[in-house]
């Protein structure tokens, strides 16, 4: 289907790092089943480096592809770098998303941040709460 780029379709049909992680150091879940997409991101951290990452996602093609791409972009990276991952970078790496699907890349960025925050919380690592804003701003149901 020409709705999506080849890269999106590739990540959708062959998602990287998909599946649950039993011994994760941090787990972040964002989105809302009512809105039609939820992403859960698992990270494993050693010496400040994200040594492993995986995801499971309920959502459309671009949600699955965005999750998959985000995991590739943070795997093996220092946490600080993962926190800088932007939705724009995810969308760009996917060779673009249709305008009404951009919120999927926002969700991917937020899922990464939520997983890091969980890791910080679990390990008593201090951080500035302002670093982690609210959750998925674009996905709030305002049409009920």
């Amino acid at each position: 289907m020409a709705l999506y780029s080849e890269t999106v379709m590739d990540h959708f049909q062959h998602p990287r790092n998909v599946g649950k992680m039993e011994d994760a150091d941090g787990i972040g879940e964002v989105g809302n089943a009512k809105c039609g997409d939820i992403m859960r991101m698992y990270i494993k951290v050693r010496d400040g480096i994200i040594t492993d990452v995986s995801f499971i996602t309920f959502g459309c093609g671009s949600a699955i592809a965005s999750s998959s791409m985000a995991t590739e972009m943070i795997k093996g990276k220092p946490i600080e770098e993962a926190l800088e991952l932007s939705n724009k970078a995810v969308a760009q790496a996917l060779d673009g998303l249709p305008a009404h699907k951009l919120h999927c890349s926002v969700l991917a960025e937020e899922a990464v941040r939520a997983a890091v925050k969980d890791y910080y919380d679990k390990n008593g690592i201090a951080y500035d709460p302002a670093m982690f804003g609210g959750d998925c701003a674009e996905c709030h149901l305002n049409q009920e």
């Binding site: 939820i38 093609g61 996905c139």
Partner: protein, 395 residues
């Protein structure tokens, strides 16, 4: 194998319809309003087509107005009914919550012009009752418009009974029969409706051509102003190839209606039987009161667009009412009108069959759907929570 199972969206043009159309592009291409011979031959074809379409629904040819499709026929019918009512000071219209947007958006427009609209509930089974209609009719009700067959779930509405209720109270009745004509018997006299809309591309005719049936005595209002075509009710040079194709397709569909219904119903029953075996699935819409070809299921824990993309990759063309496929934040208004929660409605799948589908194709669908549902559930956090009891199963 690639299976086209999206016939409620549109259909393959039948060979007979395509062949009937061809001469009207390159040989008989005159304007039906012209006095010369080529024009008069086009006029004859137009008249023959009008008679064929009228015959197929047991109408008189003077009651058929060709349009540019189903949406235009819906617009024209509803505006005509509303204007007839308004002349008597009646500005209330009754419809249902799960109509096509061609109806709902026309009603929204009329609301801005001072009409009041009541949208009836469609109940859990997707069938409106004549009692609901009767109870909603007021002194100032001008028009009732209820679709014959719902396009997403395929349920058939009791149109004859609703028309009776309307006429007892002196109210006009229109039905959007776009998904009914060519699929189930449609006889405007037996139904006793005042207006009815149809679209050729839903019964193996071409796209962009449809018709409005308006009983004698209905003051049809123009949606498109122009010349004297369609007895002055629809300006614009007639789409003769399209109209000829529509007539051929409706003739073909009605000739074989009984056999086709039996055949397609058989295919559908096999689909329902097998897809119902998927755990936490649900058939949407009444089990019995449905058009032969349309099946709509919800599968808990997955999202419809990814389901469609995977099915396409596995060789099945289908559709869904998920938010991602509806292009808005909300899943389809039809599924919500049935009372389905958002999270369940997101996981919907519509398969709509035609006479061109084969039993082998149905087996292919039956194999592909559970595979894809299982795969997507395996990577779904919603399904994970359902399985672990952290979230209650809704279906």
């Amino acid at each position: 194998m690639y299976v086209y199972a999206d016939n409620a969206a549109t259909t393959q043009v039948s060979r007979r319809a395509a062949e009937a159309m061809l001469p009207y592009f390159t040989e008989v291409y005159g304007n039906a309003s012209s006095l010369h011979t080529p024009g008069q031959r086009a006029m004859e074809a137009l008249q023959a087509a009008r008679e064929a379409v009228a015959k197929a629904i047991n109408a008189d040819h003077k009651e058929i107005y060709f349009t540019g499709g189903g949406s235009e026929a819906d617009n024209q019918a509803i505006i005509s009914g509303a204007m007839m009512g308004a002349r008597q000071g009646k500005k209330h219209i009754i419809s249902t919550a799960f109509e096509h947007h061609a109806v709902l958006h026309t009603l929204d427009k009329l609301k801005k012009q001072g009409f009041e609209v009541t949208l009836l509930p469609v109940h859990e089974n997707g069938v409106v009752t004549p009692e609901d209609v009767a109870a909603a009719i007021r002194e100032d009700t001008a028009l009732v418009t209820v679709m014959f067959v719902n396009n997403e779930i395929g349920t058939i509405q009791p149109i004859a009974d609703i028309a009776r209720v309307c006429h007892e109270k002196g109210v006009l009745m229109h039905t959007d029969a776009v998904q009914a004509v060519g699929h189930i018997p449609v006889d405007v006299k037996a139904l006793d409706v005042d207006m009815l809309s149809m679209a050729a591309h839903k019964f193996h005719g071409p796209k962009g051509v449809g018709a409005l049936y308006a009983r004698k005595g209905i003051a049809v209002v123009n949606v498109i102003e122009g010349g004297q075509q369609e007895r002055g009710k629809r300006g614009g040079t007639e789409n003769i190839p399209g109209i000829v194709g529509m007539a051929a397709a409706i003739g073909e569909a009605t000739e074989h209606l009984e056999d086709d219904m039996k055949y397609v119903t058989g295919l559908r029953e096999r689909l329902i039987e097998e897809l119902s075996k998927i755990p936490h699935s649900r058939l949407n819409g009444d089990r019995e009161k449905r058009v032969p070809g349309t099946v709509n299921f919800c599968f808990e824990g997955i999202e419809g667009e990814s389901l469609l993309l995977w099915l396409d990759a596995k060789g099945v063309a289908a559709s869904s009412g998920s938010a991602c496929t509806s292009g808005s934040l909300d899943p389809s208004h039809v599924l919500l009108a049935l009372g389905l929660p958002h999270e369940v409605a997101h996981g919907s799948l519509r398969l709509s069959l035609s006479v061109y589908n084969t039993p082998e194709e149905i087996e292919h669908i039956i194999q592909a759907v559970p595979e894809v549902v299982d795969y997507l559930r395996g990577m779904s956090p919603v399904w994970d929570e359902l399985e672990r009891g952290e979230r209650p199963h809704l279906i």
